[in-house]
Amino acid sequence: MPEPPSAGPPPRAPELDAAATIAAGSPRAQAAAALVGALAKAARAFTLYDPGNTLVRQFIGDYRAKADAATAQGPVTLEVKPFEMALGTEVVYREEDRERSLAFKLFRDGVRKLTFGRGVTVDELVRLLQILALRFVGIRQAEDDVVTLLRKAEFRGITFVAVEGYAPEDEDPEEGLRRRGGEPPADFDTPFPRLPPPGPIAWAELPADALATLRGEEAPEALSRAGLKLAAELVAWAARGALPPGEVGQFCGELRDYLLADRELGLLAMLADLAQRQPPGQLRDELLRGLADPRLLEAVLASLPQEGGELPPEAARLVPFVPAAAVLERLAGEEVGGRQAALLGVVAARLPADAEVVAARLGGLPSAHVRSLLRILAQRAPEWGDRASLSLLGHADPALRLEALRALAASSQQIPSAPLVKLLEDDDEALRIAAAQALEHHGDTAAARAVADSLTGRKSYSRAEAAVLGRTLGALHAGAALRLFDGWLEHKRKLLGVLRVGEHEELLRWAAVAGLGAIPGVEAEQRLEAVAKWADEALRRHVHATGARRRAEGRRNG
């Protein structure tokens, strides 16, 4: 059962308070004034608020309640004048500001009388409001005005009298017939195709169901499918070279907007398929370009469960048309893990096409997303992934620099070592370690020297850093490393035992052991065994761990 209309006081909206209602005399005029005032406010509300705004709903409720009250005793016929509306001799609405005036908008389009019948339905009230709202918002003025829209609506409970808005006082009846150029060829529509010989004609009862089917094909709810069918035909014409691809792409883009407004995900997916089915070429490019739009993301996301998860198949078919920039923007504000994963999946599907956009936007995202995106970039667009990582090395946020270094370390592409070397001097140990790890894969002789300098030049760092630097040194330049390691691991004894070494020398030994682990061959292995014989407990454990790692890597590398 429908809820009763709002019975409370009219909604307050300061911007609309000036909407013109006037103090009418008789009770019927007062009720009519309240109806027109509520209608005008509700229609104007769409110029000020989003249609989904709560205030708009209140205005609609108020309008409906006022309409019920005004028509309770019988029809309300309002005469429309340029700035006023009157019930009989009583003015019930006056607004002289043309931009705000409901009367002027109706009058300008030619409406001269408007009657609300007794028992006018909510549906009709809402459709009237819709027409007026369209005029207040001022859209589609080239196609329709109030009169054409009212005529289309075929109201039963609302009637109106309309004239043409303005007309010449005197008119030359033949003026319009003057030739102005622009005529079809004289032989238009010829040669006329052959028709069958005529048969007899007679009046016949028409089959109601066949006519109903015909009318159904043109019903408003069939528009989306009709549009899609038309798009397919236009694409087919364009594929044959009979229509410019750009014009068809434009139409498909317009259809996409309509389907989006109507939330027709399935039909959107069919439209997307239409583009995807085209062979490579200008038409396909135009269609893909014409269909891509950030607003598709909303349709895709609307199909996702609140907690995230797999995209429904029709939504997945739309993913190639969602620009990654829109997804990244959305990703930054998304808190639900499952939906984050879905968004990252959308980005992945947009690569490598949108790699540049993704790379350019990484700097503004949280490090966790950057990590994921760099991983995705590395898989789908490695060149752009490395480029993005290198540019992030200069970012102010150490967390992003760290993610970039990790991504570079994992890259199989060739990476310049200079920016990595520079980071060996960073204040942040985690960054230095990550830089050294990246250099293990992407360094050169010059980098080896820098690594060695980093080990010898600084006096204080952690064993972890020492190990990574040592390993990098061993990997980059085995010969030079062995010479250095031999020096650092020289076994010095004093008369009564092992000579205690300083902290820095200890770190160098730590580095050397780790570095030997990265150098292939028996020589390095023998050196490790030799160290194990004289090393203290901690260093011996380090030697063993390094040996184990070396063996594991050996097995892995065959």
Binding site: R98, R108, G110, A142, E171, E183, G199, A204, A210, Y258
Partner: protein, 446 residues
């Protein structure tokens, strides 16, 4: 769901759809350029109080006016600048003049010459703009002030500007009752103007056509003015468009289509042959083969997706398509246009040899292959045993032409006719109802 919430959602969706259907860019450009033209013209007239139009002070605003007008002509074709009381419209788009007193005075300036508007048929070079300003700023002359203004413009070589009469808002419904003859002239004029604009590559402006279709429907499709005795000076293609529109509308109405469909179908019928106006379309068979698709391109150029455009586009694209085309059966709009156009063409091309009833008989025979089988019967029911325009020999020896479509099943074979003057063979004004009058002896081709 809460009824109000549902209503709100419906409204939001309707607005969303409408926004999608809007050619925002075009509307905005028309409004901006229109405002510029109106304001600059007003400013130029004011400037004449200080300087003569040849003065250097006019150089910049004259050039600016010329550019703005040129942009508008490019967009709209003929630019109709209309002042109605204190309002200004450019091709039906109201120009914002709030807070711009100068523009408000434009109407007053024009009214001195008994003029309410100016139609610009082409862009104006600088000397013509100065001549226009000079003519408007001069004192009004004689009794026929508007004619004098036109004469002055033509004497100065400004042939692309045409003054229009004074406009006013229509106040009462009675004022708007145009006769069917007026409506016919108006439709023919609009088709002529629209063709000229489309031919020049300008976008289609559907609103005036839609209002003209409303006028046709209001005047009543049964009115004899829609079925014969058209103005002799009308362009053949405009007449053809009108006839296809009236036959289409009568068919669609008889098939029970709603008002919104009738409006869209009527507009489509008026522009269905727009493809013939495409550059390089040629003549004969090749033009015939290409014009439907080229016409669709004309409609396609209108930006935005909306019901009216889709209907128009399909109808124009399919208006020569056979009903039984595999996998591409025409839409109802296309099928109705096909039927109406073929009927009108048979009568136009073979009317002297073939009876209109036989033309209908051929269309019925083609039902199911060339034509929608039900629609062809709808057309037969609508037009009658003796379709409008049929030449009849009456039992009393007079000749007459059928003046209107059938009035229902009972009177299906007894139409309204207009007798021919026996001496001149011209149609007479008298209308005879054959339900009461003489019997029909025979129908004659011609």
């Amino acid at each position: 769901m809460d009824e109000l919430l549902q209503a709100q959602e419906d409204l939001a969706r309707a607005l969303g759809r409408a926004r999608v259907g809007e050619d925002r860019d075009l509307a905005q450009r028309v409004r901006e350029a229109g405002e510029q033209v109106a304001h600059l013209l007003s400013g130029l007239l004011k400037l004449t109080r200080v300087h003569a139009p040849e003065n250097r002070a006019f150089d910049a605003p004259v050039a600016e006016f010329g550019r703005a007008l040129s942009a508008l002509v490019e967009l709209l074709g003929t630019v109709h600048l209309v002042t109605v009381e204190d309002q200004i419209y450019v091709n039906d788009v109201r120009i914002r003049i709030e807070g711009k007193a100068g523009s408000r005075d434009l109407g007053t300036e024009l009214r001195r010459h008994d003029t309410g508007g100016l139609s610009f048929h082409a862009p104006l070079p600088d000397p013509s703009v100065r001549a226009l300003v000079r003519a408007l700023a001069a004192a009004a002359e004689g009794e026929a002030k508007r004619s004098a203004l036109l004469g002055r413009l033509q004497a100065e070589g400004v042939t692309a500007v045409e003054p229009a009469g004074i406009f006013r808002f229509r106040l009462e419904e009675g004022e708007d009752k145009r006769s069917p003859d007026d409506v016919v002239r108006r439709v023919l004029g609009l088709v002529t103007e629209t063709s000229a604009n489309l031919s020049a590559g300008r976008p289609l402006n559907p609103l005036p056509l839609r209002r003209a279709i409303l006028a046709v429907l209001d005047a009543g499709l049964g009115a004899p003015a829609f079925w014969g005795g058209f103005p002799a000076q009308a362009a053949p293609h405009a007449l053809h468009a009108l006839e296809v529109a009236t036959v289409s509308l009568a068919t669609a109405r008889a098939a029970g289509f709603p008002a919104s469909f009738l409006q869209d179908l009527g507009v489509a019928a008026l522009v269905h042959d727009a493809g013939y106006l495409s550059p390089g379309i040629g003549t004969g068979q090749s033009a015939f083969a290409r014009h439907s698709l080229e016409g669709a391109r004309v409609v396609l150029r209108q930006r935005g997706f909306q019901e009216a455009k889709v209907r128009r586009l399909r109808a124009v694209l399919e208006h020569h398509r056979d009903f039984a085309t595999p996998n591409a059966r025409p839409s109802p709009g296309g099928a109705i246009l096909r039927l109406a156009e073929d009927y009108v063409n048979v009568t136009r091309l073979y009317g002297t040899q073939v009876l209109r009833a036989d033309a209908l008989g051929a269309l019925v025979k083609g039902g199911g292959t060339l034509y929608h089988p039900v629609l062809s019967q709808v057309l037969v029911n609508t037009l009658g045993r003796h379709p409008p325009g049929t030449l009849l020999e009456l039992e009393d020896g007079r000749y007459a032409r059928v003046a209107a479509p059938a009035r229902g099943p009972e009177l299906w074979d007894r139409p309204l006719v207009r007798p021919l003057d026996p001496r001149t063979r011209e149609l007479m004004a008298e209308v005879i109802d054959l339900a009461r009058g003489p019997r029909i002896r025979r129908a004659v081709p011609g």
